[in-house]
Symmetry: C2
Subunit: 265 residues, 2 copies
């Protein structure tokens, strides 16, 4: 385990797209935003939305803010309004008394940070940005579902399904930690992250960017980074997937699913 460096939180969050904030008349700016709006992408794959509902999702990135990596988006024990991760990666983590860090969940673009139901109890786990991130307030989305003058059943369903999908992922993490070997854990996690990246249109074929160090993988999978390194080498030697820089390519996805005891899609 490596010593934990003090998180250098960015004290001056800036607007997400300052260049676009001034009234530029760029060609089809809305189209660009839609393409890069992961929450819109995810939800429209889950449920059918009315035009009004789509518009709510389109407005989400308006009030986005960016933070540098290592920033604590939610401190441990802090209660705050839910937010949506628009770009970058973050994690739920917990630092034990002995200094060990356990990552309990990865947050990818399109994921909700915090509770979508009220009242929200203070979170026990801290949320920390792994990369530089762009985060938007999710209250417009949450508020649109209960007291909305035109009812928004699509969004309500979507939020429920997103929360349930999150529970499934946490349970999967328990399966990894409780019942799998290091070799299987890594394979299983890479599969999960691949599928999640694909769901937001950020994985072409078996190819995606994985902005994680081996140490972060280790902190999530409950193993030492030394052992993570060795097992990772074995996996690459076996040709399950390749790693070049931060780019991952699934070479034998079927074999990976077999190794990891992957359940369906």
């Amino acid at each position: 385990m490596r010593p934990i460096d003090t998180p250098a939180s960015s004290l001056t969050p800036s607007l997400a797209h300052p260049a676009k904030a001034d009234g530029t008349t760029a060609a089809s700016p809305q189209f660009l935003i839609d393409e890069q709006n992961p929450i819109l992408k995810r939800i429209t794959r889950l449920v059918c939305l009315s035009a009004i509902e789509v518009e709510v999702l389109r407005q989400i990135p308006r009030l986005a803010r960016s933070h540098s990596r290592q920033t604590e988006l939610f401190a441990q024990g802090e209660a705050g309004p839910p937010r949506i991760l628009l770009s970058g990666w973050a994690v739920h983590q917990h630092i034990s008394r002995s200094g060990r860090r356990q990552i309990t969940q990865f947050l990818l673009p399109g994921d909700v940070i915090g509770s979508t139901t009220r009242p929200s109890a203070p979170s026990v786990s801290a949320v920390v940005a792994l990369t530089s991130v762009v985060v938007a307030d999710a209250r417009p989305l949450i508020g649109a579902i209960d007291g909305a003058s035109p009812p928004m059943p699509g969004l309500a369903s979507a939020i429920s399904l997103l929360a349930q999908a999150e529970t499934v992922r946490i349970r999967d993490h328990i399966l990894r930690l409780g019942g799998q070997t290091a070799y299987e854990r890594i394979t299983h996690l890479v599969l999960e992250l691949y599928h999640r990246m694909r769901d937001i249109g950020m994985a072409d074929g078996g190819d995606f960017r994985l902005p994680l160090t081996q140490e972060m993988l280790a902190d999530a999978l409950g193993m030492s980074f030394v052992h993570t390194n060795r097992v990772l080498q074995q996996i690459r030697r076996d040709g399950l997937f390749a790693v070049q820089g931060r780019q991952v390519t699934l070479l034998q996805p079927e074999a990976m699913r077999n190794v990891a005891d992957w359940a369906a899609v």
Copy 2:
């Protein structure tokens, strides 16, 4: 790991309290029910309820059914209405291809089984009764919060808080599996179960009934039952807690919290 016995599901669930179903005029029957109504007990500790809301919770046990142990309350992949566990213990579990069982969550009286939001996606993990259980339909509770003619904000808050507490417990399980030694895991889990039993009034002092075999503990904590046995002996030798039959007594709760890196209450 021991071979998994085929669950002998009870095909004939019976009414929970058939003796009380016939119109007996026992003295203060409502009082007895309240005392033994774990969901009422839990929720009234969380939030303030109106008289109408309390009445909703009182009515929950009316349509309770009992099942024998080993019964699959929710099969893997099955979608169904949420239910409430009124008595007995159950677990969320997953059987891997290799036959290994991983318990991802313990369900105690007062816990909700299934999703309280709609639509509910098919559950990926099976819910199985560890003991004989009594289960009630939770739909009256859920239905009372969105389309209720007298609004029930207390119940709505309670359901949200219950769901969040569940997430906290799952995260705690990840902390156990990912970052703790066998000794710490067992201590931490026993502490959690003790506090949960206390919250529903089923733990006097440091004393409570733990209807788990060492093998179930092992399946939850991701270790072999042989090792569970050995570590359990060490813990008892150290005097952290005592086990007599299925009765557990916390002898040094402070030392336990210290060992397990227990966070707050």
